[in-house]
Symmetry: C2
Subunit: 351 residues, 2 copies
Amino acid sequence: MVDLGERSYPIYIGAGLLERGDLLIRHIRGARVAIVTNETVASLYLETLRVSLGNIASDVFTMPDGEAHKNLATYTEIMDFLLSHRHERTTTLIALGGGVVGDITGFAAATYQRGVEFLQIPTTLLAQVDSSVGGKTAVNHPSGKNMIGAFYQPRCVIADMDVLGTLAKREYAAGLAEVVKYGMIWDAEFFEWLEGSAAALNAREGDALTYAVEASCRVKAQVVASDETERGLRAILNFGHTFGHALETVTRYERYLHGEAVAIGMVMAARASVAYGTLDDNAVERLKSLLASLGLPVTAQSVDREALREAMGMDKKVVGGRLRLVLSRDVGSVFVSDDFQSSIIDAVLTD
Amino acid sequence: MVDLGERSYPIYIGAGLLERGDLLIRHIRGARVAIVTNETVASLYLETLRVSLGNIASDVFTMPDGEAHKNLATYTEIMDFLLSHRHERTTTLIALGGGVVGDITGFAAATYQRGVEFLQIPTTLLAQVDSSVGGKTAVNHPSGKNMIGAFYQPRCVIADMDVLGTLAKREYAAGLAEVVKYGMIWDAEFFEWLEGSAAALNAREGDALTYAVEASCRVKAQVVASDETERGLRAILNFGHTFGHALETVTRYERYLHGEAVAIGMVMAARASVAYGTLDDNAVERLKSLLASLGLPVTAQSVDREALREAMGMDKKVVGGRLRLVLSRDVGSVFVSDDFQSSIIDAVLTD
């Protein structure tokens, strides 16, 4: 449960949930829904979802796969689709897919006829532990990620563990990057559990996976509940993301999956924290070692460092012309600072 | 003051307010603003506004005049503009113009980096009494008006009576249509005052104008405060708008100003109310007579009635496939109904 007063909503985590029509239907007010999904996910899970919806009429908008399509052009197509199918203010949008589908569907729901309801059915590990929880919706702009969007909460999130079995190895690992983040920013005990559970997680063992997703969602929900629109604490969720987003921008969202960029970004943020003087080298090594054991990259190869610096200047977390960074003081503990020498960034960018 | 808890904001109404830098600056948090305006308004008031802003740095986005430009294309240009000028989350957008500028600027503010602050400086009578108050922001879609948008409140509204002196006669009269609406839906006494003040209003006498704007904003603020996101009571503000929007759609936003379409739409709604059995002919005559005395049209000439019917099917106020209409039971009193024979609409559309 994400506790946001009248905008509170439940997160269901477990196996076989996509077949649970009762869970879905409980959160649909009208007689119609519009499902937004992508080509890959549709071929795997669309039929199951439609069977679970029973008598509720569904239209399906299928977008191409990939972050490159999370833009105003696809958003405009969704608006055209909803209007041409005459969806009304009582409609419900269902996001069936990964973070791209969830973010753009949420933004569509936030702005279609000034706001309709939506459900999140995240089908990647990354989306289950990150983008589907917290109400951040957005599309990208050529000059930066998530530059256009809204804070808008779903009616519920349904995270079915069974869908993770079909994920490509690389995409699955990318999701684990955010799981590691929750340990790193909030919960040292969970971080230690992860260090001891790498093999089980790599094997996608059901119990380990359910625990990892629950623990991750719990951290995220606590942080979001205390700061819905990112005025303060919520910024800590961006640990590794300022560097990671810049990395994605300069590589035009083509080279790295988001989670991979975040993995590298977290190592950069940890190294900046060492340069800042709050973190010791041992913690950086533990972070690198855990990420590597989960099949994640920990350094960026042949990236233009000047372009990276430039891209960081455009990041949304810039306040009043100064860059704000989430830095670490230990495994399980981070803080936000805009009071640092640019040399701590140089130290990270020039190796 | 519009009372919406933590989203409450003041409406300032009076002469010479555009020169009141103190009013403006009090509601600007950061060191930068972006002004969105149009060509006509910029030539008249932009310089005054920038002087009032004093040390606050302003970038100006000037859009072409007219409802035809309140679309996703212009919205996208505003996003590009803000990003290329590196506006951050602490920026403030200022809408300097009529309803088109206010609506699109509000939507831009609602969605730029998931929401930045904005101020409304409405420069038409229509915008002062209607679109600038209530937090509805939107752009149009080829299949209907305001189909894409958000509920998003400004930090304040500054309605300067002096700017109304330069309004074209037709545009000024269009604003009076919404003023009449407030009397018709909520305040019979105000309606009577309007009947006795047509000459003063047509002469744009300062005292009459200030009273008319204050009374109008008071009605709107009361209704909005009781129903921010249009779940119930707020629907009464749409009196005349279902017909009016349809009229604008079928004439492709070219023939009528919004207020003119609303004037005709209110007469249609009143006549539908007579057909429904709740209103007497005398009230329709009073409405037509008041609108005509203020220089407004009261019937639509040579409009395709079938196209109009079709356009009404697409209106946002449709719930569960049934059309909801705001009908009248007397001057100063309306109600919402979806329980009527289509013959009451036929009666209006077939004359």
